[in-house]
């Protein structure tokens, strides 16, 4: 059991958890992930590490609600526990010693790039962050990102904060602005990572993206996480999760991630119904 020491609701659907996991806090490196289970009958879900505090023995993760499991996770409060937490898993991000690294984060990915930015800062490598959200309220962890990156660019679809437009437009602008960019690391929804790959390819800049295939063990034992990179099958949990964006078969990954769409929808539906019933019962109990 892994106690949740602190939480912060970042948007209506994203929540930050600081969890007591001393061994992981000590061993973890930027770019790695952990596997969580919410309860004893639960799924194992991979979640990117947002931050690590080896002194306090805590690991910070940010979870965005997409299905039943992430909703159950986000229903957990301070003082409650994750049933299981294993990590750090995957290979750490290669942190450059010099040059200019641009980290791009969309949605929850804005949290996921934080550990990498902090890692770069520790090495005194010049870094920029580009984070995107639909609207100003959905921009997450702005304070911490501003602290970690040398420059922070916020992009919103509606222009309510920062640059109006997609992260890729900002990225293009940055690349062509004259300041050299040596590497790009993008984490977020698959469409965004694909678009980033398409943006950087013509410029020939090394681009890494963090893949999130379906996983079970996260230790190389099942092969659920296999992805095709450069024509070869790789296990994202042990060979990744970061891969060269130009070499990834995204179509295959998008398709494989839909394998359990029906079951996921059914689970979400069941969860929401149970949730409603629980709320009604609670309301009934408080009625005079």
């Amino acid at each position: 059991m892994f106690e949740i020491l602190h939480t912060r609701q970042l948007t209506p659907v994203t929540k930050l958890f600081e969890v007591a996991a001393p061994l992981v806090a000590k061993a973890g490196r930027p770019g790695q992930f952990v596997i969580l289970r919410v309860h004893g009958h639960g799924e194992r879900i991979p979640v990117t590490i947002t931050d690590l505090d080896p002194q306090a023995g805590t690991v910070t993760v940010v979870i965005q609600e997409v299905g039943a499991t992430s909703k159950m996770a986000n229903a957990l409060a301070e003082g409650e526990r994750f049933h299981d937490l294993a990590g750090p898993l995957g290979e750490p991000a290669p942190l450059r010693e010099k040059g200019h690294v641009v980290c791009v984060g969309g949605g929850f990915g804005a949290a996921a790039i934080l550990s990498i930015l902090k890692g770069l800062k520790a090495k005194a490598t010049h870094s920029s962050a580009i984070v995107g959200a639909r609207t100003a309220e959905l921009v997450i962890l702005e304070d911490r990102l501003r602290d970690a990156a040398d420059a922070l660019h916020i992009c919103t679809d509606d222009g309510s904060a920062g640059f109006k437009g997609l992260v890729t437009a900002k990225l293009e602008e940055l690349i062509t602005s004259g300041e050299p960019v040596d590497e790009i690391v993008a984490i977020g929804p698959m469409v965004m990572m694909r678009a980033v790959a398409a943006t950087t390819a013509p410029h020939g800049i090394a681009t890494l993206v963090s893949l999130d295939p379906i996983m079970i063990d996260g230790t190389g034992m099942c092969g659920a996480c296999r992805v095709t990179v450069d024509g070869r099958t790789q296990f994202a949990c042990i060979d990744g999760p970061l891969f060269d964006a130009t070499k990834i078969d995204f179509d295959e990954l998008v398709r494989r991630n839909k394998t359990y769409r029906d079951e996921e929808e059914a689970a979400l539906h069941r969860y929401e119904q149970a949730h409603c019933r629980a709320e009604e019962a609670a309301a009934a109990a408080t009625r005079p």
């Binding site: 992981v24 061993a27 294993a86 230790t219 034992m221 099942c222 092969g223 099958t233 689970a267």
Partner: protein, 471 residues
């Protein structure tokens, strides 16, 4: 001398049609009367060849004799001196190649049902409570066991018994290794496994799950910072092999490890009570013919598939699965296509597998290991319609360990190099055994390696204590 009944006392089993729809255990086990009746079939040979067939040398003749005298506790205690997992091994050992394969009764009749008797004795103890075992004086030395499969659990049990302070580190959220995630409930009920593990915990073994050795903790941390004086590595050979055929990453194609882990470890057969789903469509093909393939095929039947076909490039004679598993699979309706090899997986147009192109094979010259090598028959291709495919062609050692743990010599196939009789690796104080050393083998071989390593660790640590006392 009593007249020997020509065949084994039958094992009561669940009806094949009914059981093929549930995960309840297939074999019900002997009652005392059947166990004693079976034990009476033993000739008490001068040369108990059965014992030489046992990888851990259980004195089988004496165990059987005690059973026939209704001294069940004594019989079990005797087994346990050699094998700490009788409830498991009685169920899953390939007895036909081991003890029972060498039984002299078997020369003319069916061999004595040694496995069934072993299982009975273990179940008897589960029903009637175990005898307390005395633990040696605490030795004040810490030993770490990495991996909680049969090798790790056995080493942990023995070392704990000898008085060491033992912690088991397991990567997954639950202990047992393949016994937990691979071998299904209907063959090895998880209650049996839980009882074996709980007994270890009650005896004082500390089991820490969610610790991925090499990632969460390193060997140096264990030995230099945390005070473990010896480490046993029993991490198994868990990396699934694929065939590298066109279309292998289509939706609906699993490794047997994934399919079985979803079902056994994650409880997918009880979806939606358990959150993890599994797909087992109308037609399923399983590639390979080992125990893992049989387990996958039988799980697919139980998970609702209507037609399950095992496809193997060699013939029935080369199959490596336990005979009982094969027979049970046939009874349950699993079909077998021998001498067929898949060459391509076909897309249904939406990224799901819909067919498997195969080619027929025939047996040619024997290869290095003496098995006749299958060669393709020209112009023999055909397509098997499938909704799911389970690739079960074997596993390799997980590279995670060697990538993260320098200083341990590995073989060219990625296994750890360890001495056969001690498990000693290339690093002082570090021992290894089980599938990580031998490649995929059997539960009893892994358990036996754990036992030998435990005794070697005891020798090593006793010497260290001696040196410390002198200094």
């Amino acid at each position: 001398m009593p007249v020997i009944s020509p065949s084994k006392t039958p094992m009561p089993v669940a009806d094949a049609k009914e059981r093929a729809k549930t995960f309840r255990e297939v074999n019900f086990g002997y009652d005392p009367r059947r166990a004693m009746q079976e034990a009476d079939r033993c000739l008490r040979c001068q040369d108990p060849t059965c014992q030489t067939g046992c990888p851990v040398n259980v004195p089988i003749r004496e165990v059987i004799h005690l059973t026939s005298q209704r001294r069940f506790d004594d019989a079990l205690a005797l087994i346990k001196r050699f094998n700490s997992l009788p409830g498991v091994c009685g169920r899953v050992c390939p007895q036909e190649n081991q003890c029972e394969g060498r039984c002299h009764v078997g020369d003319r009749f069916g061999p004595v049902g040694i496995g069934y008797i072993e299982r009975f004795l273990a179940d008897w103890e589960r029903l009637h409570g175990s005898q307390p075992v005395e633990k040696a004086e605490p030795k004040g030395q810490k030993v770490a066991i990495v991996g909680s499969g049969p090798s790790g659990l056995t080493a942990a049990g023995d070392l704990n018994h000898m008085g060491y302070d033992v912690t088991v580190f397991e990567a997954l959220h639950d202990a047992g290794g393949v016994l937990r995630y691979g071998i299904p409930e209907f063959r090895l009920p998880k209650d049996v496994l839980d009882d074996e593990i709980n007994a270890l915990v009650r005896a004082g073994v500390d089991i820490q799950c969610n610790v991925v050795f090499g990632k969460t903790l390193t060997l140096d941390q264990l030995m230099d910072e945390m005070g473990y004086e010896a480490v046993f590595i029993g991490t198994g050979a868990g990396l699934p092999r694929f065939m590298n055929l066109p279309g292998e990453n289509l939706n609906g194609i699993y490794s047997s490890n994934e399919f079985l882990t979803r079902i056994n470890l994650m409880g997918a057969y009880r979806f939606p009570d358990y959150d993890t789903p599994v797909k087992s469509g109308r037609r399923v093909a399983v590639i390979g013919a080992g125990n893992t393939a049989m387990d996958a095929a039988r799980c697919a039947m139980r998970a609702g598939s209507e037609e399950v076909t095992v496809v193997y490039r060699r013939s029935e004679a080369e199959m490596t699965a336990r005979v009982e598993e094969y027979e049970h699979a046939i009874e349950e309706g699993v079909q077998f296509k021998w001498l067929n090899n898949p060459i391509e997986f076909i897309d249904d147009g939406n990224g799901w597998v819909s067919g498997m192109r195969c080619q027929r094979m025939e047996l040619g010259e024997p290869d290095e290991d003496g098995r006749r090598r299958p060669v393709p028959v020209p112009d023999s291709e055909f397509v098997l319609d499938v909704n799911n495919v389970i690739v079960s062609i074997g596993t390799s050692p997980n590279p995670l360990l060697s990538r993260t743990t320098p200083g341990l010599d590995t073989t060219k196939w990625g296994g750890l190099v360890a001495e056969d009789d001690t498990g000693q690796t290339s690093r002082e104080g570090v021992f290894a055994g089980g599938d990580i050393v031998t490649g995929s083998a059997t539960v009893i071989l892994a358990a036996g390696a754990g036992k030998r390593a435990a005794s070697a660790i005891d020798t090593y640590l006793s010497q260290k204590r001696g040196e410390a006392a002198e200094a």
